[in-house]
């Protein structure tokens, strides 16, 4: 697996819920992922957003963001996920994948780890394409005002 656990979490947080749940359902059906139990039922709540402003280098609280968090045990590994918005299904699916990745090895789960890697790479590519399009749109509005004599 070429992604770190944190990178996987980050990419999974951008994955469409449907893609995540379908993939996890497949892993559960074929028995690759087993012994899953909920440690913390999916919970919708908020995360306080703190920003350090550049003038006095002071922290202040801008507000909160709506998130959903879930924790599961996959075998002896703890899986965790947090997603923005109200998304309990996505959070549980991502937590299961986090826990499964933590206890998987290329020797035992090569095929399904490759499938996960494909999903992650597709998500990265999609994100990157979207970001690139937006950047192109934004930079098309770059401007240099001229001073009138």
């Amino acid at each position: 697996m070429k992604f770190t656990r944190e990178a996987i979490c980050e990419i999974l947080s951008h994955c469409a819920t449907q893609d995540l749940t379908s993939f996890v359902d497949t892993l559960l059906e074929v028995g690759v992922v087993k012994n899953v139990r909920a440690v913390r039922s999916p919970e919708v709540g908020t995360v306080q957003l703190q920003v350090r402003e550049p003038i006095c280098q002071e922290r202040f609280i801008l507000g909160d963001a709506l998130v959903t968090v879930a924790e599961v045990a996959v075998g002896s590994s703890l899986g965790w996920a947090m997603r923005t918005g109200n998304d309990p299904h996505g959070a549980v699916a991502a937590a299961i994948l986090d826990g499964w990745v933590a206890q998987s090895t290329p020797e035992t789960d090569a095929l399904h780890l490759t499938m996960l890697e494909d999903l992650l790479q597709a998500t990265v590519l999609h994100e990157s394409t979207e970001r690139s399009l937006k950047t192109t749109q934004v930079l098309s509005t770059a401007i240099q005002f001229e001073e009138l004599d």
Binding site: E6, S13, E53, I61, A65, T135, V138
Partner: protein, 364 residues
Amino acid sequence: MGYAAARGGLAAIEFAENLVQELRDGHPSSPLETDQVTGRLRLLVDRVMGEAGLWAPELAAQALRQAEGDVIEAVHLLRAFKSTLPRIGISEVVDADDMIPERRIVPAFREPGGPQILGRSTDYTARMLSTTRRETKPKVQPASGTPADEPLDVIPPMQRMSDVLRDMQLLVDRRRTDDSEPFDITRMPAKPPAPRSARLSTMARAETGALVGQWYRNILGPDGYLHEVTLGEVRHGAMPITVTHPVTRNPVKIGEYRVTEVEAIEDLDGIDEDRALFDIGYGLCFGQNERKAIAMANLDIACHRDDQRSELEQSILMTTDGLDSSGFLEHLKLPHYVTFRSMIERKIAVRQARLQSAPTESKP
């Protein structure tokens, strides 16, 4: 101030609420989906999230739909919902420089460090009401005058105006080395004198119109704080939401939120100020809400310069929250029968006392 409760009329209250619901949801037009609201009324959704202090576009859209487009009512719904939620955690502290900009304007300098980008804006075009609906697909055309050799997929680094002025040794250095905990206005009301973090949080959550009004009064109104206003930076872009993974203890980015950021340059000219330097006020709020962020930055520096000499800080902290002010205003519509009856009785009592104490006219 005391109020006596009134009761009764429950059926009428329920019918009134049902009337709102039925006429709204039963309108013969197509149902309003939340993605239409988030996609086509983006600035309205941004404003509701900002004034509610909660980044939740879907919920804000639902609140606006339920409130029939009433911003304050939508903010009320969103804050009420937020109050039922647990606070699951605190984000990693994000540096303002972590923003991925989608718009950047530097009114102070023609050639700032990095490009000026208009982004999604109608600032420079005439306001013409379009009476026909246009179905357009996004098209990207480089603006005339854009350097052709500039790569179009990477936003070049942008040096912020405060850093430009620092490099020129023209800026008061107010950078702090301590890292004090920020004031949480959702847990405790902020009263003057308050730490700056409380003022910034209050203004970030303030009602946009109230903040603009406060700024306008401060600039041109009876307070007499006329001062030079130059905007250093106006930026809009995406900030990361980063939290700590509970197992690895390493940071994980779980999403983004959009903000508007402003630096307002202040020409120091007070008796106790260094006239060879500038100072800067800071504004940052959810979404694309430039009026609010500009007002916030100007009031931030105005409050700092005022240094408790006037009631400016009190006014910012205690009168700019839309839910506070509208809540107080709207409660006036509720029955005040007992309160008002007691006022009438007092008037009658005063009149009777006056009649009794008046000297009787002597009869000839």
